[in-house]
Subunit: 351 residues, 4 copies
């Protein structure tokens, strides 16, 4: 434990930032050296700057008395930086930390689609981490930026990856029912969501369609060749606290039946499982048998929110096969995903 | 008003039954002669047998003192019968009323897919009413049964009909976010739906897929030839009181763009509009411009719940075009739909 | 109709402002001359500046194309001004309109407790309108400011007034379950209220305790002598869209039983009922018999949201009698209350 | 571990029964020997008989394959029996188990107010356990029945006990906001609670008023002398999954101020804390400083749901002092409370 790597959380007061703190409070590899926040909060005690919202976890990760640093590499210089910043702030600040030598694991959308930035889900495309070397060379940064995808894409990509590897994905149609925590705090107004559903989340459908193709794409020299299949996403906000539920239809090469699809999902393991990374769930995908599962409230907290739940695998009269998928937008889709990315980077000697 | 047609509501205490009563309390053509309910409620005053749940309407349609009749043609014989019975009860009782001479407008699934029963949405397939004569001849009933579709199908079929007429529908992929009132009362348990979404509604997907094809099918002699396009439905229950919201993707012949689709939807009128039926909305489909509409809570009560709202018409990378559709599951999808069916039947001289 | 009084709504885009517009769109005495809003919205069309949230009413009161004025007496000078401004803005702007000659009916807390400002619920204390003359004399304003109370107080005061008149209130203990619309838009974050309740609303308890005493107080010359009984309020926010539900215990002089209390509530009428003011409900208080009523969702929209619902009148082992009370926070507790105040002022020749 | 006491759970499939199983799956003193359920479920595997609803716990306590026994002492004879049966069933079956020699810890209301049955909260009235001997003598049972109070009463009594001991409670006025899980499954219909609150829970107010007096009463020979202060309860159901929130006003002898009350609550410990019972929280009462706490969603799961949270201690203009209290209805108010009762009985040598 003496040699744990000092890490920084940027944006520690928000809903994703708190999840980072909860995860890192007792991490075997990483030590929470710096909690950083916006100017409004910097200088205040963590417990005074926000209300703790991670139920079932020690309040403030036991660091409620810690004074928040500003988001400045001079004052919050972890060797690893976990960023829960908003996109516009991230675009400016994350490079500063990368330039200062930190490996930045970003939850923001700002840098995801840059050609020399790895958009990473460790089970899906671990080799894309090789872009770190490309990025360092190109940008002359000592550190680097590694991104995890949009929360919806993370869930979708994990459910698609085994099918892409086993059969080849040719087309995807997806409708999402997304939790309000995905919009941060204060985020969605109660007047907008009580007894309501909203068929629009700004920018979300475009992100899903682009990021899924980058994630499932293949690294060809110094660039990622997108997977190239069309993705149609219809994103909805619903009155759920945590957990994004997706209805997915997919056209697969060879037209495998539901049973073959179920087996491909259930048997699949990735590099995090092989390496036994601390935040990796034993299995990335849990296939449910019950006809009315997965459900956000009953299933999303299983395995620390790091598994993707798949249920109702059945034929689709239009595309061939369809199923429901569920994942934790704040864990696998945000903080947990970033931490797993960092664990993979550490295992590969990049830190 | 003196010659209004006496009508019966079967199952007047349930959520659909109450909507029937609210609609018929001041109807220009129909007069509420009988309120009937299950044996448990028959003989009690309407106001004592259930809690009134139609907000914004006169409690109990002003008939709170009315004593409930049993569901028996001998005691509740309207010339028109509106049935809000459960499917298993409907299968037995509705034929008794039809045999006794009533034109039964049923909201139940029991008889919908019978070849000689019209499954009717007046704007979509008014000519299917010709099956009434077929049914009477075949079954030797003085009356007849006419069905309206499942609440989700009603919304979907209305949104598809203009496109089928203008272009030809080739394939449909749909995910629904359905209100809990669609499951009746008590229906969905609060522990199942607070901060949750359920990706399963028993029998719903099969109904949508079959009924949409019958509704959009064509009458060929004495049978309906199904439309023949594949429909993929993924049905979800969400924490919404009223209003089913659908994410629809569709492949159309000729691959029209979003603008052509929007025009086809907006300009479309049906026979109820041409005839000026009392329950017909001025336009069956309202196309929204705002990027985050339609929403159940903000839109579903417009025009008495009889319009279908369409928004976000945009290209679909997989099937060609996609949009959101919203309709009132208890009105256009149930009581209002049945009443409109009866108005059409009356206009055509079938009553 | 030709001589309707031109009126202005300040803050027309908010949840209370929209209720004003919905109420005034077809008012027999008042004509909506000006819709005014903050600088951010002024100059835009009403329909572009906000999403319409009053379900069951014509969108934007039919004035969606109207261009919003700034909140400036030079550009939005109605003879009557309805203010839905926030307290801090109201403190500055409402006097400007009063100085310019308008009778300002304010929904804000800014001026409520000023000694020369009438805090008015027309059924409760119509004579307090005499403060208008006091205020004009003292402040040299051509117009004046008249306030309606906090939404919770409005409901409580209406339920207490008949009891105070019939018996004399000696002490009140009240716990509230308040709708999120009471906090405006965006107001309460969904992450704060989904599957949650909050036992705190800033400033609310103090307002209830002070305002109830002013409302039920008596006008003595140029000042209001507070009623003088202690009020204990415990205010909660709950996951309800519209309607504040109160659990009230009260100690009354003479210790009347529940039946006497019920009669006093049911038989009570006020000046708005005697005058037949357009927005007055036929009875200010509806006493429910059913053991589980009133409930916000089932009852709050009755009579345009202008009635107070009382139920479960029963003995209180501590204070003597207790009951549940429910009222519409945006109607009787805000827009409707202000409009009724203006109608009373007009009837009394103050406009 | 080899000598753990074999225990039975009656009603293992319900929301309280599942909590029992989750608590007992790894209990240091007790071993889950029998899971029993109604005839409808007996003979089925636990995982097939119900959906597991305890989030954050191992599904089915790891006993999903266990076959459910009927609620019959001949087939499910633990030395300790935890009963989550409904009151009417409990009234018949619990004596059968007591007669057969089991110490029955009941969560049902059936036997609570019997003079020779201990109504027990271990921190509040541990000496009432002496009624076990009285009961055995009087009824000639080898075992006995020990009850925990109604879920709301458990929370209230824990908050009052330190004040009763330190000052003496003279009167209590309480309004509750109760979670839907308190009504079991399916329990509250979603149509009743979405965007709603219900000011009535059958029998609840009477239970609170009577049980609080028995709990805080004193054992005098073979009977409990009730505490004798009046309690006024107004109980509401709200859209919260878990956690009952109470607004409490109390009149105390000597009229102590809020600070003295806060100290009395914070410093208080009971016998379970002194004995270090496995399910006892380190402190029975957590006093919150933040002005808007406690809140069900943020606080109720702390310390395994066994603490009572108190916040907003402040003067009450009517009774002297008031505060908010929160407790977990399924844990401290049901399963956890029963298990703690059993631990106390075991420590006292009664098992």
């Amino acid at each position: 434990m003496t040699s744990r790597i000092p890490v920084t959380v940027l944006g520690a007061t928000g809903v994703v930032g708190q999840r980072f703190v909860a995860r890192l409070a007792r991490h075997p590899l990483f030590e929470l050296a710096h909690l950083a926040a916006s100017e409004r909060s910097a200088g205040r005690r963590y417990r005074d700057a926000c209300a703790w919202r991670v139920t079932g976890a020690e309040p403030y990760g036991g660091l409620g008395e810690r004074v928040l640093a500003p988001c400045d590499p001079a004052e919050a210089a972890g060797r690893i930086v976990f960023s829960a910043l908003d996109a516009d702030v991230a675009r400016e600040l994350e490079p500063e930390f990368a330039r200062a030598g930190a490996l930045v694991f970003s939850n923001a959308s700002a840098w995801r689609m840059e050609p020399d930035v790895a958009l990473l889900v460790p089970e899906v495309n671990p080799d894309h981490l090789e872009l770190v070397a490309v990025q360092r060379a190109r940008r002359q940064w000592k550190g680097a930026i590694v991104c995890n995808p949009n929360c919806t894409t993370a869930v979708l990509a994990l459910a698609l990856a085994p099918l892409h590897q086993a059969f080849g994905v040719q087309a995807v149609s997806m409708a999402s029912l997304q939790a309000t925590s995905g919009a941060g705090y204060p985020g969605v107004a109660s007047l907008d969501i009580l007894s309501n559903a909203i068929p629009f989340i700004r920018g979300e459908e475009e992100k899903v369609e682009a990021e899924a193709n980058k994630l499932l794409g293949s690294l060809a020299g110094e660039v990622v060749r997108p997977a190239g299949f069309p993705v149609s996403a219809a994103c909805h906000r619903v009155a759920v606290l945590d957990g994004h539920l997706l209805a997915v239809s997919v056209r697969l090469a060879g037209e495998p039946g539901p049973e073959a699809v179920r087996e491909a999902l259930e048997g699949w393991r990735g590099e995090p499982q092989r390496l036994g990374l601390p935040s990796a769930p034993p299995r990335p995908i849990l296939v449910h048998e019950l006809e009315d599962r997965p459900q956000p409230r009953l299933d999303v907290e299983a395995l620390g929110g790091m598994a993707v739940h798949v249920g109702r695998v059945r034929p689709c009269p239009v595309l061939g096969v369809r199923f429901s998928a569920l994942g934790h937008n704040l864990e696998r889709g945000a903080a947990g995903g970033s931490v797993l990315n960092a664990e993979l980077a550490q295992a590969r000697g990049l830190v």
